[in-house]
Symmetry: C2
Subunit: 439 residues, 2 copies
């Protein structure tokens, strides 16, 4: 209906909620459109209404004052708005987006929390109202990973997926690996550089990456999990020393978001991981993101690029706007159908059942029988040891760090072992575990 | 018209020309479709006719004998075929594909030579007949680079594009860098492994990569060039020794396909290039392909994966088939419009006008004044020297290799200098140039 009223010759009325970093980037890309955009027959956007937090703030690029409102609901309700672009990241986004969908308006959003936690409701709402909801910008900004999974790799079963999905933590780990200091030092540096928020919790805890992984899992595996179902461990406990040991073993440490098919369910976890130093993901530095996808037909593919920032994120938003408009101009139906989890929906495997290799580091008193004690605990948990590093040179006032790398073991067994080792007399301080992924 | 007759509930009649490696891969992917494919509402393919070279050859997967023909024209003409998939790579492909388009039938092809050399005619034909022509598999097999450039990055001006687009040569260079021998040794190895053809000319000369680059340039830059307009130098002259010197300077040698915007024209060239060893492209090993795209909004992005092979290539073919069907099922018009080069078409810059850095290696007699003589020639051509390597240890029977790395210089000047240096008395044998790219 709406499409017929619109015809192909009229511009699409766009309502923008949020004119912050990304929103102003979108306006800039539309105003200064490259030839690739201008050539697209049906692409003709008219900005009809823009919700901002403060009407009086000076803005660049400048917008006609009559476009602006402080009330996002006005943008959604405006009859001249056919396409709502939500870029606030704020909690009321759910209300605005769901109201737009109820009215049959298409929505583009960059809001990962919204998608990860309430995607199910929104997709149902979109389908019921013949509207579409696109969200490429919600994961890895301008890297076209969502459309690649949905379209380019449509003929593949995704077998696994490894992502560096958080630029802040990748920047921090890169700086640590280059000798810029320990966790607190590089966090401060990231904050000074604008890569980390004053409250860095979402990033350093892994929650940001977990939400993005939940979104990817929905597309790649038809998985029901939300961000809260993804096992999540942050980088707060990583020390420079761990990075040095990793290097000695031929590994780099990255905050990885990992998802794998496993007997009809999906492993989904975010944690610091040791990855072989010649793997492409080990060579993704600074604030860059990357996703390695293992497809049943294509084998391993890697997509890398900037995972945040004004124009990289705006690029994904505009790509979604273009796809929506072309689909609508063609009288096409919504594409949201394949996002609805039907009978083939799969659940997340509890972390305790996941198997992988582990790096364990403990500080022990330099006395006979220590290694035997630890080895006995691991044997009791049926965990087998792949290698051990203990060096005289690391001796510090009666103690030495002892590093053990295991073969594949169940997480539950490893956690038992970790607790048991911590109770040994000769063990001082925490028993540190870092999971390993051979990619 | 055709779409109405078809309706959304009838399968799409597919005609396949070529049932070799890739063709049988496509049949396999369709027969054993993953859930992602089965979920797509409009995706219902029926194989109606298949052209093969030899009717009597046993085949797996098996096909009903009545589907098979030795006459490709029958496939195109079959009224039950709406979608023609051309996978022969043979020269008559132009006739088959153009006839299908004339009949308003959509075509998917993996034929890079066809696209690179005669794309213009085919796109015009497709547009004139309301048909569509898709070709993701023609470049880098299953890596979704063409749809990423057209859709995911639509809001970007592509500033530059660097590709490892030929798996055979990347395998050979990787093997040389790992000490597996010199050019002839690794060529033989690649042939034994099935990575190189008995006649390896298309691969080792760079022509295969040049054709792929021409296709990418059309999409990324709206560039008129064909494969023959791309400057092309192969890897035949690369020796292990060059790779060793490169490593000493912190570089790897890759056969790069390079395209850059330059004042309204496009540089387009394929040649061995020294790239910094910590660049992602330097870490693309064995038979893998990768493309690094610099977008005006997203910055640098890298896409990597297998660039050849049965299922990786079939994956791209099936993705194109799905996109076509979904577009048609929705009553959508052709998407071919933006492939037609209009007033904003750009030409290729002659190689002589391109500027870059160079690695020059000569064998010289160990006598006074040699370096001075070479330096004078470079100075006359206004080429400035960045570094020099000459080592006592490399002394061989009165001669030493001398390596010079230049700052940025014009190709024409460097070719002049190369000729002049070769005439010097103290210089023995060829003057080798390897271009450098700092990515």
């Amino acid at each position: 209906m709406r499409n017929k009223e619109l015809g192909n010759d009229m511009p699409i009325g766009v309502g923008l909620i949020g004119l912050g970093t990304v929103g102003s980037g979108v306006v800039e890309l539309l105003q200064d459109a490259p030839a690739s955009l201008r050539r697209r027959k049906h692409v003709d956007f008219a900005l009809r209404r823009v919700a901002v937090r403060d009407l009086d703030k000076p803005r660049s690029p400048a917008l006609a004052p009559e476009l602006l409102t402080e009330d996002a609901a006005e943008v959604v309700a405006d009859p001249d708005v056919q396409l709502v672009v939500e870029l606030t990241g704020a909690p009321p986004a759910f209300e605005w987006v769901s109201e737009a969908l109820r009215q049959g308006k298409d929505v583009v959003t960059a809001n990962k929390a919204l998608l990860a936690e309430r995607g199910e409701e929104l997709f149902e709402l979109a389908l019921a109202n013949g509207a579409d909801l696109m969200f490429e910008a919600s994961v890895a900004a301008g890297i076209p990973i969502i459309r690649s999974l949905r379209n380019g790799l449509v003929a593949n079963r995704v077998e696994s997926l490894y992502g560096i999905l958080n630029g802040t933590t990748n920047y921090m780990l890169t700086r640590m690996s280059r000798g810029a200091g320990d966790y607190a030092d590089v966090l401060k540096e990231a904050q000074d550089q604008g890569y980390a928020e004053p409250d860095p919790t979402m990033d350093v805890s892994g929650m940001d990456a977990a939400q993005k992984l939940a979104i990817l899992c929905r597309i790649a595996f038809h998985c029901t999990g939300t961000g809260r179902d993804v096992f999540c461990e942050g980088i707060e406990q990583i020390e420079s020393r761990d990075i040095e040991y990793a290097r000695e073993l031929g590994y780099a440490i990255k905050l990885l978001a990992i998802a794998k098919q496993q007997d009809g369910r999906v492993e989904a976890r975010v944690h610091p991981a040791m990855v072989p130093e010649d793997a492409l993901l080990a060579n993704i530095h600074d604030e860059f993101n990357a996703i390695q996808v293992q497809g049943s037909a294509v084998g391993p593919q890697v997509f890398s690029g900037r995972g945040a920032g004004r124009l990289p994120t705006a690029s994904a938003v505009v790509a979604d706007m273009v796809e929506l408009v072309e689909r609508k101009a063609a009288g096409a139906s919504t594409s949201i159908g394949d996002m609805i989890l039907g009978e083939d929906a799969v659940a997340v495997v509890p972390i305790e059942d996941v198997q992988m290799r582990y790096f364990m580091r403990v500080l022990v008193r330099d006395q006979p029988g220590v290694l035997a004690g630890i080895a006995r605990i691991l044997a009791e948990e049926r965990i087998s040891i792949a290698s051990v590093i203990q060096k005289e040179r690391d001796f510090e006032g009666g103690s030495v760090p002892l590093v053990i790398v295991t073969h594949e073991a169940r997480e539950a067994a490893m956690q038992q072992a970790q607790q048991a080792v911590a109770t040994l007399d000769a063990v001082q301080g925490a028993v540190k575990l870092i999971r390993m992924e051979d990619l």
